[in-house]
Structures are given as structure tokens and as C-alpha cells.
């Protein structure tokens, strides 16, 4: 096969590329340039988009002995991931940009271009497995990325290769060292790659401006504080609310909802955060099940590295209704609800509402 290996400059994608090349495929390494004005150097463990990262990727490709190119995806990334991120927050939702990047960039823009240029598949360093076209969790529970891949369609999965599927992160690092890949001990990247300093609220304030609004207690209807911009909040958030009035029941308050039109953040006790019913939009079915007209017994994960809940899922018109077997807290619209059967991903949808 002719395989395009997406290489971020990190250890996972380097080992992934090495493995797929060693398996005898014709592999070309590609680093995606996602920023029009990349920083020169990594600072801390954030980001994957600096010039230093692209050089790390190129060095790894040289060691592996595969051709290497940089593809400029900055415009697409900005439009489909960064602007989407900002507008989702502006609408009171909580987006997951890594998931969006997989859905719109790596397995859409990049995959489409790769297929057009004669490649058969795109390989990445994601920690997840594909068996017979179906997505499974990684055996490394702490590193499992099946959640952020759960939005891929069957068609997208059919052109995806995850060579690290059966390995733990520790094994990957050891293998990188063994292969002489200098990225072996490079720190893991986390947080959002395009927010260089990790300050999401400041990033959003720069783009959305700040417009002060009330924080309202759901139990009493009273204004208990003000916020500098509703977009800075996430459902379930407790810290940083700066409430000026104590709660009537003396209990901690959590963000229950964000209403961008009235610019209101509603808070309430933890019990009010508990939800058992979720409405999710744009369901996709990428596992070996038919779209469930009747109730389907499965499990659902509601955020990255979040808890897994037993549930009943069924279609209701264009939407998916998910009845949780146990109450969940902090369910944020905009996040994905990814359905599992044990380790197998069977589908996903975008959370629109929860009660």
C-alpha cells in the first residue's frame, strides 16, 4: 500500500510511521503546518505546530528513511477547527478541537488530498485500534484516543491506519529509543495546540471581546455575580466563578448552563448538574450495528477521558436520544457522545441538550 504517515514531530507519530514502513508499505511522511505564523520553539508540553516540531518530524522521517514533506493546512485548520472552536464557545457550547481536527483535517482534507495523489491510506500515531474497519479502544487506558476518533465515518476509518493500536505509551517510547528516534523522550503534548500559552479564556476574550453579564442562581433566580463573558465557562465548572453572594443552601455552585443570547451563566448545586437523558444531533454509525430505531443497549462516553455510562440509545427523527443508566454530571453541549460496546466504538453524535 502507499501510505501517508502524518507526523506531528512527536514520538507517537514517529513510531507509527516507522512501524508501517517496516511492515513493507511505501510510506511518505507529511507534517501538517497548521499555523500561518508558527512559533519557533516549543514552550512546555503544548502544541505540535512549531518550526521545531516540524524539524523533529523531518529528522524522524530521515532516520526511518522515508520521504518527507510539509503540507500547508493552515487555512483549512483555521477555518474548520479554530473558527469552529471560537464560534462554538460563542454559542454557549464546549467544543473538542482535537476531535474536530480528526474529523475535518486529518481524515478529511488530508485524506482527500492523499487519496487524490494516489495514496491508499493515512496513518497516524493515535492510540486506538482498527479491526475489520471497526474502531476499538487502545489497551493503554490512560492514552486511549478512541473518543476523539469516534466521529469518523466508516469510509474515513476504512482509509485510516493506527499502527500503535496494540501498544502502550511506555512501549512506544521504548521502541522509539530502540529505533534511534530522538523524539523518544519528548514530552507528551496536551492542551489545545493552537492556544500557545494555554489560556483558553484569554484566547476567547481576544476573539469574542468581553461583554459582562449576570451569573444567576437556578434555585432562587437571584443574580449572584457577574462574568466577563459567558463563553469563558463550561458546564460543570466550579472554580473561578467569583460569586459575590453566598448560595441560599450554603453549598458550592456549578455552572449549569450558558445562554449566549442573554449573556447569562446559570449556576446551581451539584445535584442540578446530574442528567440522565441526552439529546444528541448528527449521529453517525461507524460500528457493526444498524442505526437503532428501537432502543440499543450500550455504553456512552461524554467527554475525552471521561467516565463511561451504561445507556439505552435510540434514534428520534434526525437526533439520538440517550437514556443513561446512571446520572452523569457536567455534560456539556458541543461535546461528543461516543457509543461503545465494551472496547468497540459503534457510533457517535454531538450533545445538544441534557436533562
Amino acid at each position: 500500500m502507499r501510505v501517508l504517515a502524518a507526523m506531528s514531530g512527536g514520538v507517537d507519530s514517529a513510531v507509527a510511521a516507522a512501524r508501517i514502513a517496516e511492515a513493507g508499505h511505501e510510506v511518505t511522511g507529511v507534517h501538517l503546518a497548521l499555523s500561518a505564523n508558527p512559533q519557533s520553539y516549543r514552550t512546555g508540553a503544548r502544541g505540535c505546530c512549531t518550526i521545531e516540531d516540524s524539524r523533529d518530524a523531518r529528522r524522524a522521517a530521515d532516520v526511518i528513511g522515508i520521504p518527507f514533506y510539509i503540507w500547508d493546512m493552515a487555512e483549512r485548520f483555521h477555518r474548520d477547527v479554530v473558527e469552529d472552536f471560537v464560534s462554538e464557545y460563542a454559542a454557549g457550547r464546549t467544543p473538542n478541537p482535537c476531535l474536530r481536527c480528526n474529523e475535518k483535517i486529518k481524515f478529511a482534507a488530508v485524506l482527500d488530498r492523499a487519496l487524490a495523489l494516489g495514496f491508499d491510506a493515512v496513518a497516524t500515531g493515535h492510540h486506538a485500534r482498527i479491526t475489520d474497519g471497526v474502531l476499538y479502544r487502545s489497551p493503554d487506558q490512560g492514552k486511549d484516543q478512541s473518543y476523539v476518533l469516534g466521529v469518523l465515518t466508516r469510509e474515513q476509518l476504512s482509509h485510516a491506519i493506527f499502527p500503535l493500536g496494540d501498544s502502550t505509551k511506555a512501549e512506544v517510547r521504548a521502541e522509539a529509543a530502540r529505533r534511534g528516534l530522538t523524539v523518544a523522550d519528548k514530552p507528551d503534548s496536551h492542551d489545545i495546540c493552537f492556544i500557545a500559552d494555554g489560556d483558553t479564556r484569554a484566547f476567547l476574550a481576544d476573539r469574542l471581546g468581553g461583554s459582562e453579564g449576570p451569573i444567576v442562581d437556578a434555585l432562587t433566580g437571584q443574580v449572584v455575580g457577574t462574568h466577563p463573558g459567558a463563553y469563558g465557562y463550561t458546564i460543570g465548572q466550579r472554580k473561578g466563578l467569583n460569586l459575590t453572594r453566598p448560595a441560599s443552601d450554603g453549598r458550592p455552585r456549578y455552572v449549569l448552563s450558558i445562554e449566549p443570547v442573554s449573556n447569562t451563566v446559570t449556576v446551581g448545586p451539584r445535584t442540578s448538574l446530574q442528567v440522565t437523558e441526552i439529546t444528541a444531533t448528527r449521529p453517525i454509525w461507524n460500528g457493526p450495528v444498524a442505526p437503532p430505531e428501537a432502543s440499543l443497549t450500550c455504553e456512552v462516553q461524554l467527554r475525552a477521558h471521561g467516565e463511561v455510562y451504561p445507556c439505552q440509545a435510540r434514534l428520534a427523527g434526525p437526533d439520538l436520544l440517550i437514556q443513561l443508566g446512571a446520572p452523569a454530571v457536567g455534560v456539556a453541549p458541543g461535546q461528543a457522545a461516543v457509543l461503545y460496546r465494551d472496547d468497540m466504538v459503534i457510533g457517535s453524535a454531538t450533545i445538544a441538550a441534557a436533562r
Partner: protein, 384 residues
């Protein structure tokens, strides 16, 4: 199976004669500035090399200032003449190499220079009247004029002699980057009237990391590198005798062979252009159709990304260049093509094929056998 190397403008293989000269020198000891026998012996090598280069390029030995390569020579010319002349305006062609353009921009950003880019025609040429008009806006304020001898991307040859004459009417020093021109075009420094000329080792079959700035007598740029003052007090640093020996041998050999070499390259290049046109009828040949470097063919392929074409050709063993500058490895549309009036989309769909002393008809065959398929595939991938 080898590859078809069609990127000689990026670098060309060292000539065997140059390798021999360099290798011989590498095994000897001596600093050309030392006073003892080893130093004297090394100095002799350096000075003979200087004489060789001067003779080959129509200059006097004292006019040859060795540098670490073309970029340093361009920096020395642009910055050094700006500093020496203490006048604000730098007139520089819009199609210069970044090694000349960026020092000028840096001077504008940091030292009050006023950089005026000389526009070019559709073929990439600075017209004499353009320079004349630019100078006329304030002749006494011009520190220097810099226009390359021949363009590194599209191969267009500039009317250097005419431009020099215009600059000299006002006593303005004229710098030219001749990195691509040496060994392909007849060059005589003295006859050209040029005041400062950049030459590079590895573009003519010598080693990388060495070059020269030819400086006419009386042209004394302020140094960029301060130190021991080894080169006319204009450039400091221990002279790299082995590289200089290889460089001189390469210049001599290449200039001696130039007439036959250039004729052979031009014929091969014309074959390449004809066959690419047959394979891809809507291809556009950029640059001046006639007045161009004999080894240069530069095309735009409508509907294609240059990056995609390069990758597909590389996979088929054909090595070429998009010819455009990279920042963080991300291809920008070439400033040369934009200056020639191309739209950015078309500019991004461009490839440069450059021939050199090891090029053969088999290399051209290798390209023309696959170019139609490659272009078709790149078109399917489209423009992102």
C-alpha cells in the same frame, strides 16, 4: 535505479578536478595568515586561487574577497555599501534572491533604509528606463543599486551592462548577484562595469561554504564580519584554503568549458521544454523565452499545486524544485513570479528544472516519461 537530478540551480555536483584540488589541500596544515613555512605554503594556495578566479572572471586578484558563500557576499554588498555610503535609498530588483532582498529589508526595518523594489516586466527583466526613473527621483540619496545577473528561479538574464551605465551616470555603485550566471554565461567583471559581484562555489562545481564578493577598486563596503581583517579589511575570518582551492579549480574549469557546456545545456533544455509542452499542452513556460540561463526551464502547471507535483515526481525519481522560498517549510507563492505579474494560484503551481554538467538526455527522458501522468494526478488533487 538512480534518479534524474534536475535541480542543479540548487547545487550541482562537484567537478572531479575541484574535488582533487580540495582533497589535496585538506590533508595539509597551515593558516594563510601565519608567518612560518606552513602559513606561506597555504597562503600561496589561497593567492593562486584568487588569481585563478580573478583571471577567469575578468577581475584583478585584489578585487576578489573570499566569503563563506553567496549569502554572505550579498549581505556584505548590500549592508556594507549602505553603511559606507550613508544615503538612505536602496534600489533593488523585485526578483532578487532573498540573500540580497532580506538584508535590504532588514536595513529598512532597523536602520532607516528606504528600499525601493525595481519592478520587472512579464519576463522578469528590469527595464533600463525603470532604473532610470527610480534614480531620477533622488539620485543623491541612492546608496546602491542591486540587480542580479540572472535569476535563480526563472533564469531571466538582466541587461546588466545597460543598468550599470545608468547607475554610473550618477556615481552610484552597482551590485550584482552572479551566483547563477557564472559558468553559464560569459562574465567579465571589468567589462561589465559592475562594482560588486557575488559568486558562489557550489553552484559552479566547487564546494559548499565558500564564495566571493568581487569588489572593484575604490569600492569599500563597511564589514559585516569584524575580526582579523584577513580579506582587505572588508571581511574577517581564517580563510578556508581547501574550499578556496576547490572553488578556484571549479571556476576555472567551468569558465574554460563554458561555451560548449552552455550550448549543450541549451540544446538539452530546449528538448526538455518541447517534450514537456507536448505532454502537457497547457503548460506555461515562465521567464524570457530566449534570454535565459541555458540550463533553466521553469513552468507553471495550471490547476496543480507545485508541492504535489514535486512530491509525485520525487516518488518517480525526478528531483526538481518549486523554486519558491520556504518559511517553516510552507511554500509561499514565489515573489519572483508575483513580481512578474502571475496570480498567486498559478504561481504556486510552478516547478523549476535546472540542468548542469552531469545532465543527460536520459534525465530529460525520465521527466518527460512521467510528467503527463503526474500533472493529471496533481490536477485531480486540485488546489487546496
Amino acid at each position: 535505479m538512480g534518479t534524474a537530478y534536475l535541480d542543479h540551480a540548487a547545487t550541482t555536483p562537484m567537478l572531479p578536478e575541484a574535488i582533487d584540488a580540495m582533497v589535496a589541500e585538506l590533508s595539509r596544515v597551515g593558516n594563510a595568515s601565519s608567518l612560518h613555512a606552513a602559513g606561506r605554503r597555504t597562503r600561496r594556495v589561497v593567492e593562486e586561487s584568487r588569481e585563478t578566479i580573478a583571471c577567469a572572471l575578468g577581475a584583478r586578484p585584489s578585487e576578489v574577497v573570499f566569503t563563506s558563500g553567496g549569502t554572505e557576499a550579498d549581505n556584505l554588498a548590500v549592508k556594507g555599501l549602505f553603511w559606507a555610503r550613508r544615503r538612505p535609498r536602496i534600489l533593488i530588483s523585485a526578483v532578487e534572491h532573498h540573500a540580497a532582498l532580506d538584508p535590504a529589508y532588514w536595513l529598512a526595518d532597523n536602520q532607516g533604509a528606504v528600499v525601493e523594489k525595481l519592478p520587472v516586466d512579464a519576463g522578469g527583466r528590469v527595464l533600463p528606463e525603470t532604473l532610470r526613473a527610480a534614480i531620477a527621483a533622488g539620485p543623491d540619496d541612492v546608496a546602491l543599486v542591486s540587480v542580479m545577473w540572472a535569476n535563480n528561479e526563472v533564469g531571466t538574464v538582466q541587461p546588466v551592462a545597460e543598468l550599470v551605465a545608468i547607475a554610473h551616470e550618477h556615481g552610484i555603485p552597482f551590485h550584482t548577484d552572479a551566483v547563477q550566471a557564472v559558468a553559464q554565461l560569459p562574465i567579465n567583471f571589468a567589462d561589465s562595469g559592475v562594482d560588486a559581484m557575488t559568486v558562489s562555489g557550489h553552484k559552479v562545481g566547487g564546494p559548499m561554504g565558500v564564495g566571493a564578493l568581487l569588489l572593484a577598486r575604490g569600492i569599500d563596503p563597511v564589514p559585516v564580519l569584524h575580526g582579523g581583517g584577513q580579506e582587505r579589511d572588508v571581511r574577517s575570518g581564517t580563510l578556508d584554503a581547501p574550499a578556496i582551492a576547490g572553488f578556484a579549480t571549479a571556476v576555472q574549469t567551468a569558465v574554460d568549458r563554458r561555451p560548449e557546456h552552455a550550448a549543450r545545456l541549451a540544446a538539452l533544455r530546449d528538448t526538455l521544454v518541447d517534450r514537456v509542452r507536448q505532454a502537457v499542452p497547457d503548460v506555461i513556460l515562465n521567464g524570457d523565452p530566449e534570454d535565459r540561463l541555458p540550463g533553466n526551464a521553469h513552468f507553471s502547471f495550471p490547476g496543480c499545486e507545485g508541492d504535489a507535483l514535486l512530491m509525485l515526481l520525487d516518488a518517480k525519481g525526478v528531483e526538481c524544485s518549486t523554486g519558491s522560498a520556504c518559511s517553516a517549510g510552507v511554500a509561499q507563492p514565489s515573489h519572483v513570479l508575483l513580481a512578474m505579474g502571475q496570480n498567486p494560484v498559478q504561481a504556486r503551481g510552478s516547478l523549476r528544472f535546472t540542468l548542469g554538467h552531469t545532465s543527460t538526455e536520459a534525465d530529460v527522458d525520465r521527466l518527460t516519461d512521467v510528467i503527463a501522468v503526474v500533472v493529471e494526478r496533481a490536477r485531480r488533487a486540485g488546489i487546496s
